[in-house]
């Protein structure tokens, strides 16, 4: 699962690697352990990699402002986008971004699917996510059986190569 937040001059891409027992999030290839300790009246206290940070937070309809250690950070809320796709792929192969278990197959080999149609539901880090078709096409192969586990990077579904577009 990933989430993006935009700060002036910089975008941050957050990948959630684990949710429990401790939240583990990757930013710029570095894994951080994050814990929210307290939050009241605009004050927050969080622990990042074992270090405590206390500051103020203002949340408005379009921004989140953070004041921490004498510095101010402004984030654009509209850019805060969650992507629960949990997969990567070229379009022909749908791969798992995290290890998990395949819960349900929604298609069979040979099924014609539209872009965004449900392919399989997987469970990773105790969260079920439905994987959608990255493009329209035909299912060539389903690699994982229902109830079977898979590793990070495993191919879940292969789609038949796209036919050349006419016209």
């Amino acid at each position: 699962m990933s989430y993006e937040i935009r700060q002036e001059k910089a975008d941050f891409h957050l990948d959630i690697a684990a949710r429990r027992p401790t939240l583990e999030v990757t930013i710029a290839q570095t894994l951080h352990r994050v814990e929210e300790v307290a939050d009241s009246d605009g004050r927050f206290t969080i622990s990042v990699d074992g270090r405590l940070f206390r500051g103020w937070r203002l949340i408005t309809s379009d921004r989140i402002e953070i004041r921490l250690d004498g510095r101010s950070f402004v984030f654009d809320r509209r850019e805060g986008v969650a992507r629960a796709d949990a997969t990567t792929g070229t379009g022909d192969e749908v791969r798992a971004e995290m290890p998990g278990t395949l819960v349900t197959r929604h298609v069979d080999v040979g099924t014609q699917v539209a872009l965004g149609e449900r392919l399989v539901t997987i469970e990773s880090m105790k969260l079920q996510v439905t994987i959608a078709a990255p493009r329209a096409g035909t299912i060539a192969r389903l690699h994982i059986a229902e109830g079977a586990t898979f590793e990070r990077g495993a191919i879940l579904v292969s789609m038949a190569p796209a036919a050349p577009q006419e016209g």
Binding site: R51, R57, G70
Partner: protein, 492 residues
């Protein structure tokens, strides 16, 4: 003659609040004035009475001398305190207040006029033995111009009489280059301004802005409350001030303060004023101007001398005199002030507007906050961008600096851009800590003072703090997104 029963404060923001604070402490009733836009402003709530001023534009209301004087009379106030800015250096206002039978808390109108005139005040200073930057004009010197310019000494600045913006300006460091540079400057001046006349003045390198606080009783008796250093400026406006000036030899301090007293005494100065000087790296100092009012940065002087300058102003205006002898006034400790402004230092200090969505002001030992803001208040382009002043006092400069840093860290003004981060970067700069200051400081160290990299642990923690404040991220962490929960096969 006792102190006044009631005083009208013809100002707004932090300075109105600060004046009302002293009035309250002395048991004097206060009258605030305000424009409709300021109806919820703290100075209105703080005063015993408040009178709304009708006006087309907000800032115009505070400049409406007729309505303000009428409000003072209607409220039964005996005196008007003008604060700084607005009507504080308006000689016509001071006169009108007096004519209305009220007391203007400040100097006489003629002294305001004298000091408000660049050329007259400079001549007045020179006549009274106060150093002014040596200069010679081509008009006055004629054929002797080159010789007289050389006599001033180097480095010299040659400037176009008609000009500005650096056109026709030359810096000359020795006599050999003088004639040639005057010719060049004249050529440029002629081309740009159609007027080739130039003048020469002593160039002050690495100038420091040093000013002296004075109090006068109007009969020539003047005391000084020592100097302030105000060299940290952006766009020719001060943002950090301190007292006493760091690295100031005692003998030089004595001479500068004596010069300020000499000037104020010669002017038979009444009430509180400030004499500003430019101090060169060579120890030479020159008169710049005199401000005939309370200064924004007056708190640093109060903290090192124990004076309440507003109280001193009230007592002098009420005819109680200076009440202090110079020999009993001592400097104790060190104080530094910074001006918190709604502006963006990382974008050329452009002014910012917005609404204060969250406000936390610091406290602590030696920390003073002069603020005129409240949470939810709108900061509009109608008024000055200064929101508050943070002042820290310590037994020595290092302690004051450390406390000011803590105070800045404990301050949060969110909802609009401020210079809080920048101020902390400035006071933590090694050259600032060393007290090696001049008016070119912020430009010289611009690179060091730029926004730091945000990929450090604090920057990353800020990202997490923001993400955890965003329901979208919280949903990812704590909950199952709706479509999947509805499938009903989610297990924990």
């Amino acid at each position: 003659m006792g102190l006044f029963n009631k005083v009208l404060v013809a100002n707004r923001g932090e300075i109105a609040c600060r004046v009302i604070g002293t009035l309250r402490r002395l048991g004097i009733d206060s009258v605030a004035v305000y424009h409709e836009e300021d109806v919820k402003a703290p100075h209105v709530a703080l005063a015993d009475e408040a009178v709304q001023l009708e006006g087309m534009v907000p800032s115009g209301a505070y400049l409406d001398s007729g309505r303000i004087i009428a409000a003072a009379i209607a409220a039964g106030a005996a005196a008007i305190h003008p604060g700084y800015g607005f009507l504080s250096e308006n000689a016509g206002f001071a006169e009108a207040v007096k004519q209305a039978g009220l007391v203007f808390i400040g100097p006489d109108a003629d002294v305001i006029r004298l000091m408000g005139d660049k050329i007259r005040s400079r001549d007045f200073a020179a006549t009274n033995g106060v150093p002014v930057a040596p200069s010679v004009t081509e008009d006055d010197a004629g054929d002797a111009f080159v010789a007289q310019a050389e006599a001033i000494g180097f480095p010299l600045l040659i400037k176009a009489s008609a000009g500005g913006g650096g056109k026709g300006m030359k810096i000359v460091r020795n006599a050999g280059e003088l004639a040639e540079n005057i010719a060049l400057a004249k050529g440029e001046a002629g081309r740009y301004f159609g007027d080739s006349r130039v003048f020469a003045e002593r160039l002050v390198e690495r100038p420091r802005h040093i000013e002296v606080q004075v109090l006068g009783d109007g009969t020539g008796n003047v005391i000084h409350l020592f100097e302030r250093e105000c060299s940290i400026q952006r766009r020719y406006q001060k943002i950090i001030e301190e007292a006493p000036a760091p690295n100031m030899p005692p003998e030089l301090r004595e001479r500068i303060c004596a010069a300020a007293v000499r000037l104020a005494s010669a002017a038979r100065y009444l009430n509180a004023g400030t004499v500003e000087f430019i101090l060169g790296a060579d120890g030479e100092f020159y008169f710049l101007e005199m401000n005939t009012r309370l200064q924004v940065e007056h708190p640093v002087t109060e903290m090192i001398t124990g004076f309440d300058l507003v109280e001193a102003q009230l007592r002098i205006a009420a005819g109680e005199g200076l009440g202090h002898e110079q020999k009993h006034i001592r400097v104790k400790g060190h104080a530094i002030e910074c001006r918190v402004c709604a502006e963006e230092p990382d974008y050329g200090f452009r002014p910012a507007t917005g609404r204060i969505g969250f406000l936390a002001l610091p406290d602590g030992e030696g920390v003073r906050v002069d603020a005129g803001i409240v949470a939810r208040q709108a900061v509009t382009p109608a008024f000055d961008s200064m929101l508050a002043k943070l002042i820290a006092y310590g037994a020595d400069r290092e302690t004051a600096l450390q406390r000011l840093g803590e105070a800045l860290r404990k301050t949060a003004i969110m909802g609009l851009p401020t210079n809080l981060d920048y101020l902390l970067r400035v006071i933590r700069h090694p050259a600032f800590a060393a007290g090696i200051l001049d008016t070119g400081f912020l430009e010289r160290f611009a690179e060091d003072l730029a926004m730091p990299d945000r990929g450090d642990p604090t920057g990353i923690a800020a990202v997490f703090a923001a993400a955890l404040g965003d329901p979208t991220f919280r949903d990812l962490v704590h909950r199952v997104p709706e479509p999947h929960a509805s499938i009903g096969r989610w297990r924990n």
